[in-house]
């Protein structure tokens, strides 16, 4: 299944990247490039909306962790929107639930 990425910068200071599809070893590099591009454009408050992610593996997680590191080292943050149990479970098992700020809605993520 294809990975769709949609970037919305119409809610400054937030840049929202909506991810749809399967985030695995094949598709995750595209998300990494998109995150790097947003940071290089000067965005520091990123929100990754994972509500339409059907599948997430450790490579996808690694890309999100890499993005978070890059942003925090630039006084920024990467928040996640996710309510799907099968995706949240992956964060839970790997102990990353406490590392990211994970919210149920985009509005909550923007209240920071």
């Amino acid at each position: 299944m294809e990975l769709d990425l949609h970037v919305d910068t119409s809610h400054p200071p937030y840049a929202i990247i909506a991810v749809r599809g399967e985030l695995d070893v094949y598709s995750a590099p595209r998300l990494r490039e998109a995150l790097i591009e947003l940071v290089s454009e000067g965005h520091r408050q990123l929100i990754a909306d994972l509500e339409a992610v059907d599948f997430l593996d450790s490579t996808g997680l690694g890309v999100l962790v890499g993005g978070l590191k890059r942003l925090r080292s630039n006084d920024g943050d990467l928040a996640l929107v996710c309510t799907q149990a099968r995706v949240l479970k992956v964060f839970d098992i790997t102990g990353l639930t406490g590392v990211f700020r994970i919210t149920s809605t985009l509005e909550d993520a923007m209240e920071g």
């Binding site: 299944m1 399967e22 695995d24 070893v25 094949y26 599948f55 593996d57 450790s58 490579t59 997680l61 690694g62 890309v63 962790v65 890499g66 978070l68 590191k69 925090r72 149990a85 099968r86 992956v90 098992i93 790997t94 102990g95 990353l96 639930t97 406490g98 590392v99």
Partner: protein, 164 residues
């Protein structure tokens, strides 16, 4: 079909050692598990993720060894369990030497962008074992649960629909 202590092999899949084929392997294994085993949907999701992680590792092992060999996935069915084996032609590894990840509140935790695969697999499947030699690694993942005993859900839905 071959039979061993692990059961009878029902599926064997050989795919090129490239990342775009990981999705094919996880879909085939998940379809088999959903179609023939009495496993709950979330357990099938667990197996799908575990298979994906094992294939990702297998591709990396082949690449590190400079091997263009295929990744071989096989499914072995016994009355009480399904075993999935993912085999590579890498140089092998020492499972006991795997480093544990720091806790989530440890600042070091963010330095672990990689190496999450095996801890994940371990927590997703009922049993995990490795056969690793300098000629390659086989990762065996077991899910307990017998063969599907029939489409009970459909039967219940049909009863409710008929009643109304």
């Amino acid at each position: 079909m071959a039979s061993t202590a692990a059961g009878t092999m029902s599926v064997e899949l050989s795919v090129p050692s490239r990342s775009e084929y990981v999705a094919v392997v996880r879909l085939v294994v998940a379809s088999l598990a959903a179609g023939t085993r009495n496993l709950a949907a979330d357990r099938i999701d667990d197996l799908k993720l575990a298979v994906s992680e094992a294939c990702t590792n297998a591709i990396e092992a082949n690449r590190n060894a400079g091997s263009d060999a295929a990744v071989i996935a096989s499914c072995w069915e016994a009355p009480e369990r399904l075993e999935v084996c993912i085999a590579d032609s890498g140089t092998g590894f020492e499972p006991a030497a795997l480093r544990a990840h720091p806790q989530a509140n440890d600042p070091e935790r963010l330095n672990f962008e990689r190496g999450l695969g095996i801890p994940l697999i371990r927590s997703l499947v009922d049993d995990l074992r490795f056969e690793s030699t300098p000629q390659g690694t086989k990762v065996w993942m077991t899910m307990f649960g017998g063969p599907d005993s029939g489409d009970q859900t459909t039967e219940i839905v049909r009863t409710v629909v008929d009643r109304d």
